[in-house]
Symmetry: C2
Subunit: 437 residues, 2 copies
């Protein structure tokens, strides 16, 4: 079906992920021109859009999930160096292999990641990696939605100066403007890796062109020590001194933000991508998600790259976010089901400055998923809202069967319709062998 066609989906339960977390049972979603035309309870629904294909899909229908921070092309590095300590894993395994990647490899890696995310019900990912044109090509072939950040990093000679990387990113953005599924962002690695002049240039370009800045912040307790020694400021304060936080900014990790940093982020409208699985696997710590949100910072629960997670399963991360927050605070009320669902849908969209995504409210993108509830884990459902708690605490992204992006049916009964998955996986295996050296 083309994105221009109209569609009515009917689910046993439809959770639009509105502010109140309504669940309509049964419910409907109408799609026209790739956007939500209407959503609500089936009883009292308007006539379907003229010419609409009506599909009674059953199960739970909700918006596609949003991944706020990922390096998905790293699927070709997944599992490599398992068991090595962090420093050796990076220096002996990850960096040498990344140094052997070319753009075609990155496109394949991204397609594998996109296939995995789509099957897991993730319809938008905020990506950051080398060869962003290849990342954009991979997500475009998958028919997935993405924000593609051009990595800007100091010290990798093969990519030229940070200024050259910035220039290439801006040029890519101009070439990509016509693609409704792909937005190009600027991905300065971090406030400690890049010099002040570079960060100011990035800020200027981002504001001039309304580009998202996607940057790592406060992943480890010591990464900002040199900045603080030089400036007397935390890294977030330093970024604000440079004016960078006046742009649209998504800060990845935020594990070691101070209370004052959080207030600053809230004042500047900075969103945070919270990556509990990666932060746990690498022993980075537990981000103060409850405090961030109390300060007014929108949070997107995210996977990080598949080399440090090792999957791209946003629903799993949502459950981890609840568990970690409760352990951090020693309080079973620290975060709950509604928080988890918001942080993978509408609040994640807000964190990215993309309020056209993340819920099935009229006018937003028709990125929709259908989850099969025919498993013991989803028993008992005594009232429609029960389904939300069961999904977060007992469910699995493996139960996603169907996915639509901008109204296109890209996963049909568990099969990704847009990609030749066997070929891509075989290519991924060849790349993994080659880069192992």
């Amino acid at each position: 079906m083309s994105g221009g066609a109209s569609l009515r989906l009917i689910g046993d339960y439809v959770a639009p992920m509105d502010e109140a977390l309504s669940v309509h049972s049964p419910g409907f979603v109408d799609v026209t021109d790739g956007r939500v035309a209407a959503c609500g309870p089936l009883s009292g629904a308007p006539l379907p859009p003229d010419g609409a294909v009506v599909s009674n899909v059953g199960g739970l229908v909700m918006p596609g999930m949003i991944n706020g921070h990922a390096h998905s092309a790293m699927t070709v590095l997944r599992g490599a160096g398992e068991g090595l300590p962090l420093e050796r894993w990076l220096s002996e395994v990850v960096w040498p292999r990344e140094g052997r990647l070319d753009p075609d490899d990155v496109e394949v890696g991204m397609m594998i990641g996109a296939a995995e995310m789509l099957r897991n019900g993730v319809t938008t990912s905020n990506e950051m990696y080398f060869f962003p044109e290849a990342v954009a090509a991979g997500v475009a072939r998958a028919g997935m939605r993405a924000i593609v950040g051009i990595a800007i990093i100091e010290g990798l000679a093969r990519f030229g100066t940070p200024e050259a990387q910035l220039e290439a990113g801006v040029a890519l953005r101009e070439r990509t403007l016509g693609n409704p599924l792909v937005e190009i962002a600027l991905g300065p690695h971090s406030g400690y890796n890049l010099g002040d002049d570079t960060l100011r240039s990035i800020r200027d370009e981002a504001i001039a062109r309304d580009m998202l800045i996607h940057i790592h912040v406060a992943e480890t307790p010591t990464e900002g020590d040199a900045v603080t020694a030089r400036t007397g400021r935390t890294v977030p304060e330093h970024l604000d001194d440079l004016g960078l936080l006046d742009a649209r900014v998504l800060a990845a990790h935020g594990v070691w933000l101070t209370e004052s940093d959080m207030r600053l982020f809230a004042a500047r409208g900075v969103g945070v991508a919270h990556c509990p699985g990666s932060n746990g696997k690498l022993a980075s710590g537990i981000a103060p998600v409850r405090s961030m949100r109390a300060a007014g910072v929108p949070v997107a629960v995210s996977t990080d790259g598949p080399a440090s997670n090792d999957n791209l399963d946003v629903l799993e991360e949502a459950r981890l976010a609840l568990l970690f927050a409760r352990l951090r605070d020693g309080d079973a009320a620290a975060l709950g089901v509604s928080d988890a669902l918001h942080m993978i849908t509408r609040e994640a969209a807000a964190a990215l400055g993309r309020n056209d995504l993340g819920s099935l409210e009229e006018g937003r993108a028709a990125d929709v998923i259908r989850i099969d509830l025919d498993r013991p884990e989803y028993e008992p459902i005594r009232s429609p809202s029960d389904v939300l708690g069961l999904l977060v605490w007992a469910g699995s992204s493996r139960d996603v069967t169907d996915v639509w992006v901008a109204g296109e049916h890209v996963v049909d009964s568990g099969v990704v319709t847009t990609l030749p998955l066997d070929d891509i996986r075989a290519a991924g295996r060849r790349i993994a062998d080659r880069i192992a050296g």
Copy 2:
């Protein structure tokens, strides 16, 4: 196929979960009379057992997982009271509903839980609940293996005195001796709930009959305060003073064990069931798993009941165990893939004193699962051992397709063959409605 028949399973990868974590690719498992007759690489395999049915199942073949601590009949309470603070959840939701359960309800709840566990690749569960005869009947109908602990608790008038509960448990054990799948254990709730004389009687019966004692220990930091005030001892020390640790003992939780408690457990051969998901959801804390194991205590990674988890997914718990240990210690080397796999198979068996389970070594029970690897999450596999890390970090119990218990094929291509699942789920819904009052 009857348990007396012979079988050869051939997998693309066969991980017997031996001490060295071998992976044979391709590999085989021979089953005779419900036990493993041989297991190894297919090249150089002996002739299959005479009359064996040979089945080339592909995928990853490994022993069924072991759940070291569960109250699985609580599936009928799953999700109830979601979002309430702990005290209100217990007093307003859980306890009143449990008070309305009868034995038939518990049998249904256990069958739902058994179906869920089997589909998730769990072939043995160490259970503790009211109406243990109903629990035993439920697992027997599912064709699952279980240790069924009779809950012994002070203060619930409907179940009579603890002494009466003990007597009923011993009688049930005598009636169940002929059942090869069900072992009856004694389930004293805790060292702080029961009086010294009762605990001594339980100890005497357990030792006289070689029954496992399954008991909650150190789930919260304050639960043992009264015992310590009265005796000057930690609860584990108090249990040892009563001689209880001379029996075969599985201590559930162990979140707040002292270093000295761990040494005591190691000296007495006590195993611990570690329940990271439940301990996180209820904000109980993170058990010192690395220290326990360093002291010599075998650990079984476990789900606890589905009212505080909310699923019965042992593989998910294994991943949580790694993440939690790394966060607790701030050390990415705290626990790794081999630890996780041992703690859901052979080490879990050791923690339960059941070295007839938990690996595909000759003579052990033929409890076998097959996992489908045809998903992007299992890419790339460059050497056979990679599959183990991918399973733990990126995989899902949803990918289990086939399960054999004592050589019986109880899950066939995702379908539980032993139970009328639709009927049971409908019965579970009726029970959930009725006990909500």
